[in-house]
């Protein structure tokens, strides 16, 4: 099985890749970026995609470098699932783990580790990238659910002035001040929740390239990802990622009396669902049930019961296909939400 014929070039820099995108657009040719190609190549072999031009961005140095600042991790778009599962993180006292050599990103955000262990298979995880996972816009992708629950941002590069994304550019501003030479490349960050739009549809324009994905590791809390995989494709018939943050710290009243706030109630829960709707989504109605709640089995079940509803109580429009009907997927999502919440909370309790 071959892909349809295409023209290929491997870009050596972000600047060159943006030029190649413009050249293809000027020639009115359909162009696709390829990094790991673990989603794109199978689609091209089945002729579900037939780009005329393929630009290989696997060597772009600008998409490989990452870093962390406090609890915020900026992950290069070319980071493979395999590398992500092995990526070092910050150690306890904010000391770089490269010095301590102890902790990793997946121990800090266990939901990531959960997803990376059940996503596709080891060979695919060795090639597939985090940038590709969000750029592909697959309604049944595992990783975007975890990233959504972690309030991830997508960093996008383009020629200056061409696009205006909803931006939260605090960290980008810092980077721009540090850069010495004027750049012909503009970077913008936007929430993944705004970036994902529908079935294989995202806010990425034809002349833009994702350079990084940024996540912030939550403080006092824990996370988990649960999925029900299709036995052949390993894709989730439903998948649910949760990040639970507990109340912490103390409150001092006007008489100087100090009350500890870490009484085991939930400050905030983030719940993201994949595999059952046109795009992975945040289950805000279920999250609202858990706000300021003590996590009993009844509370978790009450939250899970809302996982396919919008904040105003309406039922979301869900996808069904030959593998599983929409009501069955909704049922799976509810069960998996309960399980993921219980797993995350058990992790938070563990010493």
């Amino acid at each position: 099985m071959f892909p349809a014929d295409f023209a290929y070039a491997r870009a050596r820099s972000l600047d060159e890749a943006l030029d190649l995108l413009d050249e293809a657009a000027a020639a009115d040719e359909e162009v696709k970026l390829i990094a790991g190609g673990q989603s794109l190549l199978p689609m091209m072999k089945l002729r579900l995609a037939a780009p005329q031009v393929l630009i290989d961005i696997a060597d772009l140095p600008e998409l490989k470098r990452g870093g962390f600042y406090g609890r915020s991790h900026t992950i290069g778009a070319l980071t493979t699932y395999r590398q992500l599962a092995r990526q070092r993180s910050v150690a306890q006292a904010g000391t770089p783990a490269l010095v301590h050599g102890a902790t990793s990103l997946v121990t800090e955000a266990p939901a990531l580790g959960d997803a990376l262990a059940v996503l596709a298979d080891p060979q695919v995880r060795a090639r597939g990238t985090i940038g590709g996972a969000v750029a592909h816009g697959d309604p049944a992708a595992d990783l975007p659910a975890v990233l959504l629950a972690l309030d991830a941002e997508v960093v996008i590069a383009a020629r200056p002035g061409r696009h205006q994304h909803k931006s939260s550019s605090q960290h980008l501003a810092r980077r721009r001040r540090q850069s010495e030479k004027p750049s012909n490349v503009e970077r913008q960050a936007m929430l993944l929740d705004d970036f994902l739009q529908g079935i294989y549809a995202t806010d990425l324009a034809e002349d833009e390239i994702i350079t990084h994905v940024r996540i912030t590791i939550p403080g006092a809390g824990a996370s988990a990802y649960e999925k029900f995989p299709h036995p052949a494709s390993h894709l989730p018939l439903a998948g649910v990622a949760v990040v639970v943050t507990f109340k912490s710290g103390t409150l001092t009243d006007e008489n100087g009396r100090v009350t500890p706030l870490d009484d085991g109630t939930i400050a905030h829960a983030a719940i993201a669902v994949t595999g059952i709707s046109p795009r992975p989504y945040r289950a805000r109605a279920a999250e609202a049930v858990l706000k300021d709640a003590f996590p009993t089995a009844d509370t978790l079940a009450a939250a899970a019961a809302q996982v396919t509803r919008t904040l105003d109580g309406a039922e979301l429009s869900l996808l069904g296909d030959q593998h599983a009907s929409a009501p069955y997927r909704a049922h799976l999502a509810e069960v998996l939400t309960r399980r993921a919440l219980a797993r995350a909370i058990a992790r938070a309790d563990a010493p």
């Binding site: 892909p3 023209a7 190649l20 190549l41 199978p42 298979d121």
Partner: protein
Amino acid sequence: MAVAREVSVQLMVNGAPRTATVPARTLLVHFLRDELRLTGTHVGCDTTQCGACTVALDGVAVKSCTVLAAQADGHEVTTIEGLTGQPGAGRGDSALHPVQQAFQDEHALQCGYCTPGMVMAVRQLLADQPRPTEDEVRHALAGNICRCTGYQNIVAAVLRAANSEG
């Protein structure tokens, strides 16, 4: 740099430099089999599921039906043919790699079609986890399908290979 329908690829295959000009859409597995006549790497499902085409790209197991030859340009590929004579293999060029030897000892193949991919996937597993549990072995072989359903002996072979190595 301009885009092109034909690409010149240069890569190290089993330690030897190989060069060819191929259509850009050529998949690595077809490059290995048709251009280089290394037919030990098999095409099974052709849809990234069965793992029969598993090779090591820069030392890491990947599915060569889902990599373009052009993407492998400038990189190193090890196929099943390259396992003998590598570090870890026994004495002599024809000696089997410890994973191959364990497959023979445990009769871990029936028709043998999936075997090259299984061996290449197991090589990766043992490189990552020298002492896997049975559960970890089964989990690590999620990307390799044996349609003879001979998994029992394959898992036994992996555990034997793990115990035979240092």
